[in-house]
């Protein structure tokens, strides 16, 4: 079931009404969330519900065993089992094909032909998201940051909570589980905020992302018919499509959770206005960045063992992040490319203690440099998106080559720039706060604005709903 589907339009109000009818009974309310979540996920492919159920059972059991362990070694064993099981499922379903293909290619390059044992594996929706969430829970229990949950229904509802199940935000037990185990009361303001976030998220997904998607597809699929400037535009359009699509999903997720009286963490903080790649990663997919920081970067030593180790750690994080996004070499190159722009800014800040712009004291010049930095960052990220969207490294290479050799030509599809312009205008002058997308105080103007958003959605939504891009991870 997709957020931008008619099914969800029926599903959410039904869940909302039933949920608040049960507000006096927390156990039943959580059971309803669990059933709704399994129905939500199962409507895509019921077979993979078993994966979530297995993952839930393993982490529930392991976390309790960890808390009962009388020695650190025993606790470590249970933690190892949990991580092995979660990563095992993730690797099998997501990376099996990639590793087998890469292995064959490696042997073929040195003259050995291998007959591989290949499987046609379907990638379960959102496996990277809920696997990371469950792993974080067990690690936190092991580290003693949280107590293990003894309520199996509440824990299952936390793992499978439908608003954020398939594409995040990747929640922590300390934030989400603590809300799930406590009674919730209906809150009018929270519900209104939720509805507004859902509306804004739908607008971003349906009007901006899907429209840009229509411009992106021919540029990538028939790149030979277009010019070098179009290749750059392919990256720019796709960068904004990704942002509108993924942040649109996050807004609908946060909004849906608010309707159920639950607060999810923000996953975006206006990333397209970042002044550097470093800043971008502090504002983009925040829950994933934080996950990597807490569970990979810091355990590897973080920044405490000197600059060289810190740079090495950052580089590893980017490679792993690339691999997390997709089982393809293009994603690994995408990660490495971003690391190349991230690390210099990171190193400068470590050495001098402040950003480069901190040295400019003239206000006007600072302003100009800031705008230039934003534009430069968008261009850098747009080029990165070529690796992300292209089918192979060869494909991204020819697009990049064309971008350089056939530059300064007119744009073939300038109409799509309107969508980017509308998005930037709204985010810059109307939205401003990522949790409050419609901050207009005057009721008439607010209604007018909301009505305009709905009409735009109705005119753009397709009868066959476009899937969210991040579902593939």
């Amino acid at each position: 079931m997709l957020f931008n589907s008619f099914d969800y339009l029926i599903f959410l109000p039904v869940v909302f009404a039933s949920y608040w009818l049960l507000q006096r009974n927390l156990k039943l309310q959580n059971f309803l969330v669990l059933c709704a979540s399994y129905f939500f996920y199962g409507s895509w492919d019921w077979r993979f519900l078993f994966l979530i159920a297995i993952s839930t059972f393993i982490d529930y059991s392991c976390s309790i065993q960890i808390s009962r362990s009388d020695s650190a070694r025993a606790g470590k064993r249970w933690l190892g089992l949990s991580i092995f099981a979660n990563l095992g499922l993730l690797c099998f379903f997501k990376y099996y094909g990639f590793f087998v293909d890469s292995w064959i290619a490696l042997f073929a390059s040195i003259g050995y032909e291998m007959s591989p044992w290949t499987l046609s594996i379907i990638l379960p929706l959102g496996i990277s998201f809920y696997t990371f969430q469950t792993m974080a829970y067990t690690i936190d229990v092991y580290r003693g940051k949280i107590e293990p949950c003894k309520d199996y229904i509440a824990f299952s509802a936390f793992i499978s909570f439908f608003p954020q199940l398939v594409a995040g935000p990747i929640e922590r037990a300390s934030d989400l589980l603590t809300q799930v185990v406590k009674p919730r009361r209906f809150n009018y303001i929270q519900s209104v905020q939720g509805l507004r976030l859902i509306l804004w998220g739908l607008f971003k997904k349906v009007v901006i992302a899907d429209s840009l998607g229509k411009g992106v597809a021919p540029l990538f699929n028939h790149w030979a018919d277009y010019t070098g400037t179009d290749m750059l535009m392919a990256g720019v359009f796709f960068a904004f499509q990704m942002y509108a699509d993924f942040s649109g999903y996050a807004d609908i997720a946060i909004g849906s959770a608010k309707l159920l009286g639950i607060e999810l963490r923000s996953n975006f903080r206006f990333p397209m206005f970042s002044k550097s790649v470093l800043e971008f990663w502090q504002r983009w997919h925040i829950s994933l960045t934080k996950w990597f920081t807490d569970y990979l970067y810091i355990p590897m030593g973080g920044s405490k063992k000197g600059l060289a180790i810190a740079i090495r750690n950052v580089f590893i994080i980017f490679l792993v992040s690339g691999l997390w996004h997709g089982a393809n070499w293009t994603f690994i190159i995408w990660g490495a490319y971003q690391a190349a722009f991230y690390i210099p800014v990171f190193a400068y800040r470590k050495v001098y203690g402040k950003p480069m712009i901190g040295h400019i004291h003239n206000a006007l010049l600072r302003h100009i440099v800031n705008i230039g930095s934003v534009v430069f960052t968008v261009l850098v990220l747009s080029v990165a998106r070529l690796f992300y969207r292209a089918e192979s490294i060869g494909h991204s290479y020819v697009m990049l080559k064309k971008m350089v050799t056939d530059a300064f030509t007119p744009i073939s599809t300038p109409q799509y720039l309107w969508y980017i312009g509308i998005l930037i205008f709204i985010e810059l002058f109307i939205r401003r706060d990522e949790r409050n997308p419609i901050p207009i105080k005057n009721t008439f103007l607010r209604y007018l604005y909301c009505s305009a958003l709905i009409v735009a959605i109705l005119l753009h939504i397709d009868s066959h709903n476009e899937q969210f891009l991040y579902f593939q991870f």
Binding site: W20, F186, Y188, S191, V192, Y447, L448, C450, S451, A452, I454, V455, L458, L459, I461, S463
Partner: protein
């Protein structure tokens, strides 16, 4: 919770008014330029002939004083592009009107039949195409055609057409065209692009200037959807109730394997044109004939029709 429901209701009312005003403004903008309307809503066009067909259908239905028998042809483009109602009328002595349209599914045919029989014109013969290609068709294309390319978008049957396809965009188009009718000064722009075809009258479109394409491709034959099957049963019921002689028409297609067993189970006569002696060279694709092929094809159909119903041909 009550407060929230109240605010949602309040906003819904505001939104309804907003939508009306928005549509009226777009309609009014056509006084100066078609650009905004064209961007947001589909504009009528002459391709496929439905714009003229809807005009002539109204005239044909109003003409109740004609002494001759009346016949209605319903179906997809294999009906309105391949069967010449002038030849069919001349040979059978029945005044036929071709109300076929692009991808007309049986559900669409039912709506048109209901419209025609409710108009008061006595119809004695109905030829309804059971084109296998459209058996699982949702009816969206035909509905859209009859709503957008209609000379009178407020005609009652356009509402029923919108109800068939169940897409919000069609409802929006329908609502917009209805609102537009009440906006003074609004202008109807009609796209006159024809793409190698001529509207020959009585709902018939004749194509002579088409490039042959996909002739070697095998035509896919889907299962009939429950929606279309129920429409077929309803068409039969109406015909029985109104004493209309019903003929199921199986059109000739190139590279298609037919299975008319479903139709044979039903209580109706079948005019199976799959065996019509029409040369492949007369087709410009798997479905449609050039103008020069339609005369031969229609004459064969007329002869079969006469034999099937034991009609004594009379001159109209």
């Amino acid at each position: 919770m009550r407060r929230l429901l109240y605010r949602i209701l309040l906003f819904s009312g505001f939104f309804a008014i907003f939508l009306l005003v928005f549509m009226a403004l777009i309609a009014y903008s056509t006084k100066y330029s078609p650009a905004v309307e064209k961007y947001l809503f589909p504009q009528p066009g002459l391709w496929g002939g439905t714009y003229q067909r809807s005009q002539e259908l109204d005239v044909w239905l109003k003409n109740t004083e004609n002494d001759s028998l009346s016949g209605l042809l319903l179906g997809g483009s294999t009906v309105y592009r391949n069967i010449d109602p002038y030849i069919l009328s001349e040979k059978t002595g029945i005044d036929f009107f071709n109300a076929g349209s692009n991808s007309q599914a049986l559900a669409n045919s039912l709506v048109l039949l209901q419209h025609c029989v409710n108009s008061g014109k006595p119809i004695q013969y109905l030829v309804v195409s059971v084109d296998h290609v459209l058996w699982d068709n949702s009816g969206l294309e035909s509905s859209s055609d009859w709503i957008t390319n209609n000379h009178n978008p407020s005609a009652g049957y356009t509402f029923n057409m919108a109800a068939i396809a169940r897409t919000h965009l069609l409802w929006l188009s329908y609502a917009y065209l209805r609102v537009k009718q009440y906006v003074p000064g609004s202008y109807i722009y009609v796209d006159t692009t024809l793409r190698g075809e001529v509207y020959a009258g009585k709902g018939f479109v004749c194509s002579s200037d088409q490039t042959p394409r996909k002739l070697e491709v095998k035509v896919p034959i889907p299962e009939m959807s429950p929606k279309n099957y129920n429409a077929l049963l309803e068409i039969m019921r109406i015909c029985k109730e109104r004493n209309i002689t019903l003929t199921f028409f199986n059109p000739k297609l190139l590279n298609a394997e037919y299975d008319v067993s479903v139709i044979k189970q039903l209580d109706g006569k079948i005019l199976d044109a799959a065996t019509a002696p029409v040369d492949a060279a007369l087709f410009y694709d798997n479905y449609h004939l050039y103008c020069r092929g339609t005369a031969l094809y229609t004459e064969w159909i007329a002869d079969e029709f006469i034999q099937l119903h034991h009609i004594t041909p009379t001159t109209l």
